[in-house]
Amino acid sequence: MMLDSILFYFFAALAVGSAILMVTRRNAVHSAVFLISTLLAIAGIFLQLQAEFLFVVQIILYVGGIMVLFVFVIMLVNLDVAVRQMKFNRQSWVAGLLALVLGGLAVVVYRSGGGAFNLMGAPATTMPPNAEQVGTVLFQKYFLPFEIASILLLVAMIGAVVMAKRKI
């Protein structure tokens, strides 16, 4: 139990800390590295929630796939100029403040819930080993979305090729 919460707080702190750093770094590569760190921390949270399969999916797809793409593009796109310029836009403080206020509001809402939320209720104690279960449910109950996702990925593939290729 105690190990559980230690793990959670460790990963949560890591995730939030890296997320803040990600948003505030000037250099896009540094941002990407901190985002990777956030993603890994989130993967850790998944593991702590006993979702092994998603833990692995998060690392393979997000960190090993999507973020590689980001890093690749950042390196491809000349950022020398960006490094020297202002990193936030002019109205940034307004937007930031607004978002913070909204966030604070949400915290208040979540806190004030009490009886209205059954979200605080005691959760299930353990989850069964889950790679197989995820597979079964994915291919039975969520079969149709799975198929639609194939169209989505096809569209993304065509889109990426159309956009990034010099000559089609």
């Binding site: 590689v68 491809l76 000349n78 790679a131």
Partner: protein, 451 residues
Amino acid sequence: MPFGIEFDDIRQYIAPVIYALVIVAVLPLMAGYIVLLERKVMAHMQARMGPMRVGPHGLLQPIADAVKLLLKEDITPKNADALMFWLAPLLSVTMALLAYAALPFGPAFQIADLDVGLLFILAISSLGIYGIVLGGWASNSHYSLLGALRSAAQLVSYETAAGLALVSGLLLGGTLSMKGLVEAQDSQGVWFIFVAPFSFFIYLIASIAETNRAPFDLPEAESELVAGYMTEYSGFRWSLYFLAEYANMIVVSGIAVTLFLGGWMRPLSGVHAHIFGLPYELLDLLPALIFFGLAAWCTKLALRQGEQIQKMVMFLFVGLFVVLGAAMAWSLTSTSLMPGIHGAFWFIVKVLVYLYGFLWFRFTFPRYRFDQLMKLGWQFLIPLALVNLVMIGIGIVLAQQFLWPLSLAMIAANVVTLIVAFWLVRQGDKPSIVVLPAEDELPAAGPGEIR
């Protein structure tokens, strides 16, 4: 009980820690000796001797190299991104070592038998790319960055093919656990390489590309990019990259061995031959005999050494081999220890055989051009892997639902894959056109001038 420790906990927690320590301790040594092996193999293939000075037949060369590397000056370029420059090699080696957590060296010798073991190893080894990419970027040098970009493209491309090849192994084994995969091969009585040869073949090629080995070593092609992403590295950090590369080689070999070559199973594990009325199987005597033979060879070498210290070291080796051989022989008498120790032996032997393939390829094939590399990956390996995967799926359905014999179903499936492979090769025979990137597409160099 937060911190109360019971006996089961010791087995549960202490044993993995010991395994991990052993791996971390032994791995650099192993890497060093693989390098020696590589140089020896290369030398013999080129009809020369290779390292001969330090120790008999250069057997102590790795230790000398390690000392040299550690004493070298560690240089950080002025315009490098200090944090990333420091982080990148560390990342590389960490990820390489982490992957060992799920690798089963033997039935009992595994740090953690994860439910999603294979995926875990894939996930962790896919992170190794950051070490290369960030290192190349942080060096703030054109060569490094080009190496890094090449590496990113190459790894992402070949990861797909490797993953698809592994999935067919998973289909056959029906589990993601590394241990379960070996057990599946045990219970089905066949190594998956014989059922799915194309998967093994594809994985072999893709794994070479993933470890940046020749003939796919474009990220560090010395004749084009000096040393690619490693150009600006020196001393200890460079040796970390080096270690990571060899650790990764062992990992991919381990995956291939586990999935396709029967893991820790003895070759011919179905054959039970007892001669001379011995209670042991004849083939199980082999490891002990091999070690005793090695010990004898080393003794012969040791007697020929002139230097006193070299003689001592060689006798150390003799002692080591005698001890190992004795352990092999002794474990035969204990049914509880035998599978573990012999399993580890066979696993390591198979890994070495696979690694020998790596070395062999390196000195046999010329390096690919980058567009050829991409073409091979995208237009040959990935389509072939897809077809192979589908065919194996069909074969399994035929075997399980329509009760065909597995061998027949798989032969049919593989013949189709073979035809497709030939067709793809013919398609690829057409001359390729090299498109050089336009001037403005060349990437910027690293993190920029200002710090």
